[in-house]
């Protein structure tokens, strides 16, 4: 790892000032950034630790679950309020990586990184959540812009994520047995934003909506409604873990399981 200057600002304004430098990089849980720095894939002059900005915490009110960017996966997984309002979100968080990763990794870091096999992007897209930053609000449909690409501008800081509480929702993933990242993960939701289905892990461009499934489930919310709807394998990942055709098949299987689990 190359050395860098370490800063732990105490206000969002100070953090924004430090991150205005293109050579600076934000640090949340470090579960992605530290491995990246070790591999020397990135060489920031300054690492800006976001842990003292008061960005951790969960509030539920008015049909909305707001989760601070620095809230760890374990906190979401164990939150009685999240379990009650959006159980699918708590169980998604409980199955990210392993215990040690969940104690450090944060929702903000996961969304800023937008790994094409990460779990949270599926929840954000399917639930129609809003990403709050120090500059603006970004709706889920415009936030995800392909593999590791988001609508975030340089130096922009995610402060929170707001999830509208759905009527029904569930997330089912087929985890890569080594990393636990999603080979394919499908989040289905029926709620204030309509019926939405988001697929992670499968697509070359990361998380995306499955409109054919959405239309079928809008007509009839049941696993059987997805029978016979093939998922095209074009644009899906093919690697040592599985072919694009295999992933296309898994999308259907995970989606049906998710609809069944949502009830």
């Amino acid at each position: 790892m190359y050395d860098f200057a370490y800063q732990k600002p105490a206000s969002i304004a100070d953090a924004a000032k430090l991150l205005a430098d293109p050579e600076a990089k934000a640090l949340a849980g470090g579960m992605t950034l530290i491995p990246v720095l070790k591999q020397r894939l990135n060489k920031p002059a300054t690492v800006v630790d976001l842990s003292k900005l008061g960005l951790a915490g969960i509030t539920v009110s008015g049909g909305m679950v707001a989760i601070g960017a620095m809230t760890t996966h374990v906190t979401v997984a164990r939150s009685a309020e999240v379990k009650k309002a959006i159980p699918a979100l708590a169980s998604l968080a409980a199955n990210i990586g392993d215990r040690a990763v969940r104690y450090r990794g944060t929702i903000g870091g996961s969304l800023a990184n937008n790994d094409p096999t990460a779990d949270y992007p599926a929840a954000v897209l399917a639930l129609g959540a809003t990403i709050k930053t120090n500059r603006r609000s970004i709706d889920a449909d415009s936030y995800f812009q392909g593999m590791f690409a988001t609508a975030l501008e340089p130096g922009e800081i995610i402060t929170a994520v707001e999830f509208p509480v759905p009527e029904k929702a569930a997330y089912v993933k087929f985890p890569n047995p080594a990393s636990r990242y999603a080979m394919v993960g499908v989040f289905v939701a029926k709620g204030p934003k309509g019926v939405r289905v988001a697929v992670t892990g499968a697509g070359q461009n990361g998380v995306h909506r499955h409109t054919a499934f959405e239309q079928a489930l809008t007509k009839s919310w049941s696993a059987a409604a997805l029978d016979g709807i093939a998922t095209p394998s074009a644009g899906l990942n093919s690697d040592i873990h599985g072919s694009a055709e295999y992933r296309a098949h898994l999308v259907g299987v995970m989606a049906k399981r998710a609809v069944a689990a949502a009830g």
Binding site: Y6, L27, I34, L37, K38, R99, A100, V101, R104
Partner: protein, 165 residues
């Protein structure tokens, strides 16, 4: 260079580190606590797990500066002053839950966290899931799972073995 001050195994410790110094490097190289191992250095194997403010984390994936002010417990901090092993260490010994021993410090630290966060009981399935971040090249995990199940009643002050056969 940044200065970090923390509590390690109940005693105050401080050291001058580089910003890039990992917590595991601080523990092993500056503080001489070589019980914490580095197996992969890529956040996969869990040999480096220690407790930071009560949470089992991978010390190879945390900067020493991030642990400033924290309470850290390593494998060296588990046994009592008179050498009496922690119940988890004792059960690992009893159930032959180690062979080469390289993964053991991280396994034990994760296992203690796992048992502590499941006061209402711990099934075999939960134990196996709980060990997803800890790799062992020797044992096949079976005896590790047994040791953890056996440690559960001891850690929760109950005489009966946990129903995790």
């Amino acid at each position: 260079m940044p200065q970090v001050s923390l509590t390690v195994n109940g005693k105050p410790a401080s050291a001058e580190v580089e910003a890039r110094t990992l917590l595991v490097e601080l523990l092993r190289e500056k503080l001489g606590l070589t019980g914490t191992h580095v197996g992969c250095d890529t956040s996969q194997c869990g040999a480096c797990v220690v407790h930071v403010d009560g949470m089992a984390v991978k010390s190879c994936t945390m900067l020493a500066v991030q642990a400033d002010g924290a309470k850290v417990t390593t494998i060296e901090g588990l046994a009592a002053a008179d050498g009496t092993l922690h119940p988890m260490q004792e059960m690992f010994r009893e159930h032959h839950a180690l062979q080469c021993g390289f993964c053991t410090p991280g396994m034990v630290m994760t296992a203690i966290d796992l048992v502590a966060t499941h006061p209402d009981g711990l099934t075999e399935e939960q134990i196996r899931h709980g060990l997803e971040g800890n790799l062992c090249r020797c044992t096949g995990y079976h005896n590790i799972v047994k040791a953890i199940a056996a440690a559960w009643p001891l850690m929760h002050g109950k005489g009966m073995p946990a129903a995790a056969e």
